[in-house]
């Protein structure tokens, strides 16, 4: 069972914590916000630190506009010179760019895989649930958009070798299909993205004026959103809204865990995982769920 720690900011101190933990790989970059893409200097420094720490390295990229594509191209030039490195992509444009870098290995990010079960209403029973059961399409809501062979083939023809998925137990029976098709699976623990915006909900709530001048309060701040009347609870961090999914022993039994390439631990103010101890604690907890 392998683990990777994903840093959500270009905070070098947090990166050092990840490197000193018992994780096998460090993911560096920005998954959701293009204005938090690190600079080339930060990337070079992070890569050197991770290599010195004898950990595997993966670079994480978000959805991007043209200005960020330009920034990323310089970074991909650098990584391509360094060797075979997985790059998590969340944008078709970056998949296009990666076609020009033979050393970089495209890994589909969560934003390029549609998973209806991320829907917060699904666990309570979607509208007309009975109706859907009767017509035999209930299980469609548990699949991923990659559970259709031509879709996987399409991405594999474009060099994709792996994919990020979420800890959503009702989807676990469908993960095996992806492995059989030849994809390496990375399963994110705890935080399931429910919605995502460019009109950053954190920044707007905190009175930031524009993305270009944003002081990035999300480096240290995150919020819990509750609506007691509707019994809804979400977590807001950066420009993404999550629901929390706590791994349990029962769920672990359902997971084809021998097929999972890695579990991803997100370092974030939401999970309060920002230190080596916290990462190790979660890794131990996950291992204990198997024993």
């Amino acid at each position: 069972m392998k683990f990777s720690a994903q840093t959500t900011t270009s905070d070098i101190a947090m990166l050092r914590e990840a490197i000193s933990s018992s994780c096998d790989k460090v993911r560096f970059g920005s998954e959701f916000c293009e204005w938090k893409i690190p600079s080339l200097t930060e990337l070079e420094k992070a890569y050197a630190l991770v290599k010195d720490g004898e950990k595997d390295f993966a670079y994480v990229t978000p959805r991007v506009s043209d200005s960020s594509v330009k920034k990323l191209v310089k970074q991909l030039d650098f990584l391509n010179r360094e060797g075979k490195i997985p790059v998590v992509i969340n944008d078709l444009g970056i998949l296009n760019v990666l076609g020009r870098y033979p050393n970089l290995i495209p890994h589909l990010g969560r934003q390029l895989v549609h998973m209806p079960a991320r829907c917060p209403w699904l666990k309570r029973g979607i509208k007309d649930a009975l109706f859907e059961k009767v017509h035999g399409i209930e299980e469609e809501y548990s699949k991923t958009s990659l559970n259709y062979a031509p879709t996987i083939r399409f991405f594999q023809e474009h060099g994709v070798r792996g994919v990020d998925l979420d800890w959503i137990p009702r989807c676990f029976p469908y993960y095996g299909f992806l492995v059989k098709a030849g994809l390496n699976l990375s399963v994110h623990l705890q935080l399931v993205p429910v919605t995502l915006t460019r009109k950053c909900h954190t920044a707007r709530f905190l009175g930031e004026i524009a993305p270009e001048t944003c002081s990035k309060p999300c480096n240290i701040r995150a919020f819990r959103l509750r609506n007691d009347r509707l019994e809804l609870e979400f977590f807001l961090h950066e420009n993404a809204v999550f629901r929390f999914a706590e791994p349990s022993r029962k769920d672990m039994e359902e997971l084809p865990r021998n097929d999972i390439g890695e579990f991803v631990i997100t370092m974030s103010p939401i999970t309060r995982i920002r230190t080596q101890e916290k990462i190790d604690e979660l890794i131990l907890h996950m291992k204990s769920l198997i024993s």
Binding site: P120, K127, H135, Y148, F205, I270
Partner: protein, 390 residues
Amino acid sequence: MARTSSRNRESNQNRKKTRRIPKILAPVNSFEGAVKVIDAGADEIYCGVVMSGKGRYFGLYRGPGASPAQLPSYDDLGRVVQHAHSHGVKVVLVANEPFMSDELQEGVRNHIRVGVDKGVDALMIGDMGVLSIVRDLGVDVPLIASTYFVSMNSEAIDFLGKLGFSRVVLERHLTLNEISEIVKHSKVDIEVFCHYGGCSNINASCYFYHLRMPDRIKREWQMMTRGLGRHTAPCTILYDVYEIADSGERRCGNAPVMDALTYCSLCHIQALVQAGVAGIKIVGRLRQWHGYGPGRGVAADVKIYRKLLGLIGKPSARPESIRVAISSLREEYDYLMIEECRRTLRAQGGGAVKYLPFYEFYCRQKRCIFSSLFNAPYKEHDLKSREIRL
């Protein structure tokens, strides 16, 4: 593919010759609605159809399926196509759920096959699996890349162009400058949303499926967002907001923190024309939600945008006259909407409805599709709604 590429080249050459006035694309979900929006001046209409097979019972967004966003039958599609073509208007068939599976594929194959047989002029697609079905069927119609591909940069447009798409609908959350840059470098036509559908979140990454909400939640959020405006959505719900800290949590307010809905781009149409977008798209296949008759709300939108584009297209148009025209079009829009409310009330035999005037809702809260990305409309309170009584 070769045919599509030559079509793309042709379209690119045409674009370079003249600055075009973009097409107006309007949604329909009934034959009656199609007649109205075509009369109002739509250049192109887009629609889905209630599918056959298991796909009939599956739905995430507004793609094919059994939702009221669709035309009820393929016979209706045939009538719509016939009527549209007789008025020189093109019809786009949507097949754009960002999801495909073995169970659903037969319905989608049939949807595409029958749609093409009925004479649709283009297919709108939002998933690579659906694209593989189109290729497998060997149908020869232009392909439009749906917003579910979340196209936000020139590399993504280039990628989709190479796959055979001749037009790409951009993600709603792009700024005017970003759109302008994309159009400059694009070899395919670029389409943008202009009215009514400025979602708070990126469509393809939003799992607040409006059509799949349990009834209890739906009823509650409709009640809770009453008075916010004409349009309510799951992202407009109020939340208690707690800041998370290592030492505990701190309550820091109660707000619809996710509300970033936008609706209008009247003031930005001239910039879109200058940018060279090929089409501006009106949203609202489900507009009868708000009590309007089939196609009427959309037809009012089309009428207003048609007038504005007509003015912008005149060589004599000056910025000042366009500003004045926009102001009077807002008033006209209000008038049309109030008339719609009255018509609905008459049909219901009386009653009253709350109506938020254009300036109150669209302008005071800056709910412009191309306003600043970090605008927080919910911070502008005390909107004054009017009661319309019959």
